[in-house]
């Protein structure tokens, strides 16, 4: 690392570590990254630690315990630029499905002694707690988008990360629409591109892991799924994935299930 280079921290909350692993998965560029930035905090990769401040802080994971809710406030104060990485940090993650369920029942079911387990009733995105400067979507994030974010920070350009539909990337890649040609339900039209349309390219429908794009036309797409013979529960399950808690997927799931999630009461405190 270079003395005086911008400092980078990588931290995590509730998550699988896959997004921060994406940084280590930039194998061909890893040593160049550490030559460009001074990675001062990244528990998964180095025993050196730093409580901040950070020029750039990459945050993985959702906020799902009281300690995390407190910690994110402190981290925000230490970060000049805070970037959330991945579906957990940006949308609450798969674990946000518990927001629709009875949390105590969850704890009892998984743990014989739920009293040992400290967790909030909800799993919420970081942006529900603090201001976020940029987001990288995906479960996991795309390595290319991560490299672009770092490169854009390094030269001062706007990261070329757009909120296009998966369909745009899918067609550029030359993939044939799985919905039209095979009748497979695909969330591509309402999901952020960024993955490069992996699922349609692997002959299956997009499952929305890069989250809803800002202009997702949910009524039209769900209407079309229902018209193709899916039950309300079948269609709900399509959206009950890694970004279910992000709007407008959240409302769509609630509408289809006839019940809403617990509000982010914890987040608001």
């Amino acid at each position: 690392m270079t003395r005086g280079a911008p400092t980078v921290g990588v931290v995590k909350f509730a998550s699988c570590d896959g997004c921060q692993l994406s940084l280590l998965d930039l194998e061909d560029h890893l040593l160049e990254i550490t030559g460009t930035f001074d990675i001062v905090e990244f528990a998964e990769a180095t025993s050196r630690r730093s409580p901040g401040p950070y020029d750039v802080l990459l945050v993985e994971g959702s906020v799902s315990t009281e300690e995390q809710a407190a910690e994110i406030l402190e981290l925000r104060a230490q970060a000049r630029t805070l970037v959330t990485i991945g579906a957990c940090a940006t949308a609450g993650g798969i674990q946000a499905l518990r927001n629709w369920a009875d949390h105590d029942e969850y704890r009892r079911a998984v743990y014989a002694h739920p009293e040992y387990v400290a967790s909030l009733a909800t799993s919420t995105p970081v942006s529900s707690h603090v201001r976020v400067d940029a987001e990288l979507h995906g479960c996991p994030i795309d390595r290319g988008e991560l490299l672009e974010l770092l490169s854009a920070l390094a030269v001062g350009r706007r990261p070329q990360i757009r909120e296009d539909a998966v369909c745009l990337a899918c067609k550029r890649r030359g993939v044939v629409c799985v919905t039209v040609a095979r009748g497979i339900p695909c969330l591509g039209p309402v999901t952020n591109a960024g993955c490069g349309a992996i699922c349609p390219a692997m002959d299956r429908g997009c499952y929305g892991c890069f989250g809803p794009r800002p202009e997702a036309n949910m009524p039209s797409l769900t209407g079309s799924f229902l018209a193709s013979g899916g039950t309300r529960a079948d269609v709900a399950r399509l959206f009950e994935g890694f970004t279910a808690y992000a709007e407008p997927f959240r409302t769509t799931v609630s509408d289809l299930r006839g019940r809403g999630p617990e509000e982010d009461a914890d987040a608001q405190q």
Binding site: G4, T36, D55, V56, L153, A154, G156
Partner: protein
């Protein structure tokens, strides 16, 4: 009253020269002019204050009149200016006739004022004159509302994200410095 030329300005002369007067027949204009008074104020003078009973309907004959209000933390803010030929103090026409803003002389001004009581009397007595004055006031108000709306749009203001020209500690600069092997300190901006 004397102007530069040394000519004395009378209310009747003054009224004739402005749009309010131009729209009136001669007899009617005379009737209105009779209740008018020429007021001269130096730059900076307050003509009347927000919340006071509006003392008169004014027409700017020369100079510039400002309409301002006080905003905590920002002080006196001028919302608009009234240029020669245009009116101010329209609130005199509408009960409770209290001034909505403070009116002040941005430059030395000459104003033709129609005091509240006499104006109301003369308007009550002459419906045609009243209609003409109200119509004039309404059209001036209309223009002012349109202007205010455009000002509210803050058209020249920032697009969603105006960025500071020299963001503090912009990473690119720091990197550039690092590459040149130069200082590791925060760049001065």
């Amino acid at each position: 009253m004397e102007q530069e030329s040394g000519e004395v300005i009378t209310p009747a002369h003054a009224l004739q020269a402005v749009r309010l007067g131009a729209g009136l027949g001669e007899a009617t204009r005379e009737k209105l002019a009779r209740v008018g008074q020429i007021l001269v104020r130096g730059a900076g003078a307050v003509l009347f204050r927000e919340g006071e009973k509006t003392p008169y309907l004014g027409v700017v004959i020369s100079g510039r009149v400002g309409i301002r209000t006080y905003v905590a933390g920002r002080g006196d803010v001028t919302l608009s200016t009234v240029e020669a030929g245009d009116i101010f103090g329209w609130s005199v026409l509408v009960p409770p006739s209290r001034a909505h803003a403070t009116v002040w002389a941005v430059t030395d001004v000459t104003v033709l004022g129609f005091p509240a009581e006499s104006l109301r009397r003369v308007l009550a007595a002459d419906p045609d004159l009243a209609a003409a004055v109200y119509q004039h006031a309404l059209s001036a108000l209309g223009r002012r509302i349109t202007s205010t709306r455009l000002q509210m749009l803050d058209l020249f203001g920032s697009p969603r994200t105006t960025e500071p020209v020299r963001p503090p500690g912009a990473l690119s600069r720091r990197l550039a410095d690092v590459r040149r092997g130069a200082a590791t300190e925060e760049p001065t901006s």
